[in-house]
């Protein structure tokens, strides 16, 4: 198998940081890996950090939307963090609004968002 994007576990959260321009197959592998890891670890949240991504096309956009939908079905929330302004403007122009995908400016804010969610759901800090 070729390269895979590493999925890290941080407490109850799975963390993926995409560092390079991804080939389509690696994007699909990542979607599969995440679904499996959510079930295997019982994670309640997923953070996908795309700070380093210079473009997000419809293929990667669809992966982000699918991952968000799949993880929700598996009882985990997905947050996409660090989207660059030029990428956001391009996605809007492309016609992709990533409905259903939650977003945050930074990794820190993304983690805080998941933490607030978890507290609200379980009713305890």
């Amino acid at each position: 198998m070729s390269d895979r994007v590493p999925v890290l576990k941080l407490g109850q959260v799975l963390l993926v940081s995409i560092q390079v321009d991804l080939e389509d197959q690696i994007v699909l592998d990542l979607q599969d890996d995440l679904a499996e890891r959510i079930v295997a670890t019982g994670a309640t949240g997923v953070v996908i950090d795309i700070t380093a991504l210079e473009i997000v096309d419809s293929f990667v956009g669809r992966m982000l939307a699918n991952t968000a939908a799949i993880s929700r079905m598996l009882d985990a929330e997905t947050v996409v963090v660090g989207m660059r302004p030029a990428v956001a403007i391009t996605l809007v122009e492309l016609g992709l609004s990533l409905g259903g995908v939650r977003t945050a400016l930074t990794l820190e804010k993304g983690l805080a968002l998941l933490e607030r969610d978890r507290t609200a759901r379980t009713g305890r800090p």
Partner: protein, 138 residues
Amino acid sequence: MTGPRVEGEQTVPIGSNDDVVRARQTVRTYAQQCGLSLVDQTKLVTAASELARNTLVYGGGGRMRCATVRNGARVGVHAVFEDSGPGIPDLDLALTDGWTSGGGLGLGLSGARRLVDEFELDSAPGAGTKVSVTKWAR
């Protein structure tokens, strides 16, 4: 007055997922050389990514030709995506948001058109597909 001049053309074969990545990177290099703004670079490279993937997935592979284009004082990037695949029967339909012949979102062609300044689609059933795009530096 002379028309637009094309210079420094480079050809990238598109036959695998790797090649789609290579096509994106080639277009980005040209966009940077032409002095496109960061947002315009991102738009053009995203459009190239969509079109290169179409060439691979729907056209069964082909090639991209990328070049610098000059028209008077204006400078821009010109890219042509060609395949000899099955072609597109209904061009208007293919440019409609949401229409897809494969498993995509149907934003490839219509989305790419919105991301560039000039867009030309040339295709007929059995005769392959050729998409030419241009983005000018502001």
